[in-house]
């Protein structure tokens, strides 16, 4: 039957007994099994994460009961005198992470832009493999590299920074930079050197995410910019970078999460010191992971609880950082392509 409309009649003016019908959503049994299976696997991730959090939280109860919230403000860690606190350790973790990101972020961004926009095709795949291999180097190797090869040279850089920028508290070191034989040991085993080693570890991760995101920038907009007479860099600035903002942030946050928890390289490089200071160039620092790794072997049960509490605090911080990152990335255009 053909429905004919009058010349001035709209299809939408037809009688209103037209309501949607219900369709049976039943899936075939194979699909149902797979759905159930997938749900279980997905939930298990949440369950495992929750279990870790609960375990750590449960282990922290004795510590919080004993030291109260002073545990978070006390800076010294002296189990013999029953003085335990993680404020210095948390600050040290943040210092190392800040140094690592300050080095890794610009390097990752520029290498991602170069690889995805400027490199010739053959060079591109070579560089991509190179960066991915960088991620495959074990942390302990970076730690050894940092201690034996980097440190002797990096002390000079730290000395130079102290000499010229020492008026800023961030670059201050508790020694005289102008002294004829300047005290090399005061610049060694610092958060700065640990931060450089950690930056090498997180750089490939951030660069890979940024590179993938840049390569997904819509070609239509790229052509629009070029057709207006833009140079290649102008096109990158107007189209690729704004599009990739979500990936840039997401990649950096991923790097930060890793930098907060990096253990073995930091342990090999730093000399533990429990002071509240934000001076990465100076000798001595401590991070949560280094603390746990260093004190774990000789810990009594109450100290063990304290270490696990420190771990719990780190867990919460990392969770917050990654959740914030996920929220920012999900609301951006490139969010769909970052994990």
């Amino acid at each position: 039957m053909t429905i004919l409309l009058e010349p001035d009649q709209h299809p939408a003016e037809a009688p209103d007994d037209d309501q949607p019908r219900s369709i049976d959503p039943a899936l075939p049994p194979g699909d149902r099994v797979f759905h159930g299976f997938a749900h279980v696997i997905g939930l298990s991730t949440l369950v495992i994460m929750g279990a870790i959090g609960l375990f750590l939280g449960y282990q922290s109860i004795p510590t919080f009961r004993r030291y109260g919230l002073g545990f978070l403000t006390e800076s010294q860690w002296q189990p013999e005198q029953d003085v335990l606190g993680i404020s210095a350790v948390l600050l040290g973790t943040a210092t190392v992470a800040v140094v690592a990101l300050a080095i890794a972020f610009p390097l990752a961004l520029t290498s991602a832009v170069y690889i995805s926009e400027y490199a010739a095709p053959r060079v591109k795949s070579f560089l991509v493999s190179l960066i991915d291999l960088m991620a495959a180097v074990p942390s302990i190797i970076w730690g050894l590299w940092g201690f034996f090869l980097l440190q002797p040279k990096a002390i000079h850089v730290a000395h130079w920074l102290h000499t010229h920028l020492g008026f800023l508290p961030f670059f201050h070191v508790d020694t005289d930079p102008e002294a004829a034989p300047w005290a090399q040991s005061r610049y060694a085993a610092s958060a700065f050197i640990a931060g450089i080693a950690v930056s090498m570890m997180v750089l490939p991760m951030a660069a890979a995410v940024m590179r993938q995101v840049f390569s997904q920038a819509p070609p239509g907009e790229r052509e629009a910019a070029l057709a207006l007479g833009s140079t290649r860099w102008g096109m990158i600035r107007t189209v690729v970078l704004p599009f990739g903002r979500g990936g840039i942030i997401g990649g950096t946050m991923l790097a930060m999460g890793r930098a907060l928890g990096e253990t073995i390289a930091v342990v090999l490089i730093i000399s533990p010191a429990f002071e509240i200071k934000f001076k990465p160039l100076e000798v001595g620092t401590s991070t949560v992971s280094a603390l746990i790794a260093g004190r774990f072997g000789e810990a009594t049960s109450s100290q063990l609880s304290a270490l696990l509490t420190a771990g719990f605090v780190l867990f919460i911080i990392t969770l917050i950082v990654n959740t914030l990152a996920a929220m920012i990335v999900a609301r951006s255009r490139s969010g769909a392509v970052t994990d």
């Binding site: 239509g220 007479g229 833009s230």
Partner: protein
């Protein structure tokens, strides 16, 4: 920028001096890798008029268009031969900067592509920002109004210039792209099937825009829609590619000729809908 005489303050449409450029293609051939896609195409596109490139899919019309503003070479394996003369000077000659050429020969694409991160006003000015053209704030406002008026979009968006470019409908986005191209005052505007993704109302608006701006600009438009070609153009070139051979122009001439008395039987078959 040309000074606006006092009398123009009382005119509804802005007057810009006619400065369309003449485009000539001489013996243009194109390859993608070892695959030849265009065979020695020569065509004159006169100033201040609309030339339509018609023909079935895949016969090289868009490739030829992209050669006219040096977008063809963006593809890594693309190569070409021949000359493209803008006002008598080959744009492919050594020493000619690509960015200068693309400033003088603009392009509007099939799928509207406004920059989503920018507002409508910033989209119109994007061409100036990208090519380093400096303008004062009042000049910029004037450019935005002029360009959007020429593109037939000013009345609809003049109160929401700060909104994002992607908040408009498809037809409005395409007119925004046209305004964006016009803002840098090109001599030629290339249009690659600008209406094929638009609804009929938007198509009509864009065709009205073409009719108005052709007085100041040369337009070359690729279109699948023969009726559109008949409506908007003064010259037509019919492209065809036989199976496995590179594309080329079968016949070119005025629109009346191509549609009324085509010389080649293939042209006759195409414009009468026998294939395509």
């Amino acid at each position: 920028m040309t000074a606006v005489p006092l009398t123009d303050l009382f005119e509804p449409t802005p007057v810009v001096e006619a400065r369309g450029g003449t485009l000539e293609a001489r013996g243009v051939s194109a390859w993608f890798g070892s695959n030849k896609v265009l065979e020695r195409v020569s065509l004159d596109m006169p100033a201040n008029s609309v030339t339509a490139l018609i023909g079935p899919s895949g016969c090289g019309k868009s490739t030829f268009l992209r050669i006219l503003n040096r977008m063809h070479e963006l593809v890594p394996s693309a190569r070409l031969n021949g000359e493209v003369l803008l006002d008598g000077v080959d744009i492919y000659a050594d020493g000619h900067r690509i960015t200068e050429t693309r400033k003088r020969i603009g392009m509007v694409f099939q799928k509207p592509n406004p920059f989503p991160a920018m507002s409508i006003g910033d989209n119109v000015l994007a061409g100036l920002k990208l090519t380093g053209i400096k303008a004062s704030r009042s000049e910029k406002e004037g450019i935005i109004e002029r360009s959007l008026t020429r593109a037939g979009l000013w009345k609809e968006v003049k109160d929401r210039l700060k909104e994002h470019g992607s908040a408009l409908s498809g037809g409005q986005q395409q007119r925004l792209c046209i305004a964006r191209s016009l803002a840098i005052e090109p001599e030629v505007l290339l249009m690659d099937e600008p209406c094929s993704a638009l609804d009929p109302t938007s198509t009509r608006r864009v065709e009205e825009t073409i009719a108005e701006i052709k007085e100041q600009i040369t337009i070359v438009i690729v279109t699948h829609n023969m009726q559109q070609a008949a409506r908007v153009s003064q010259q037509c070139a019919f492209f065809l590619a036989e199976m496995g051979t590179p594309g080329g122009i079968v016949e070119a001439g005025t629109t009346e000729q191509i549609f009324g008395e085509p010389v080649d039987p293939r042209t006759f078959d195409y414009v009468n809908g026998r294939f395509g």
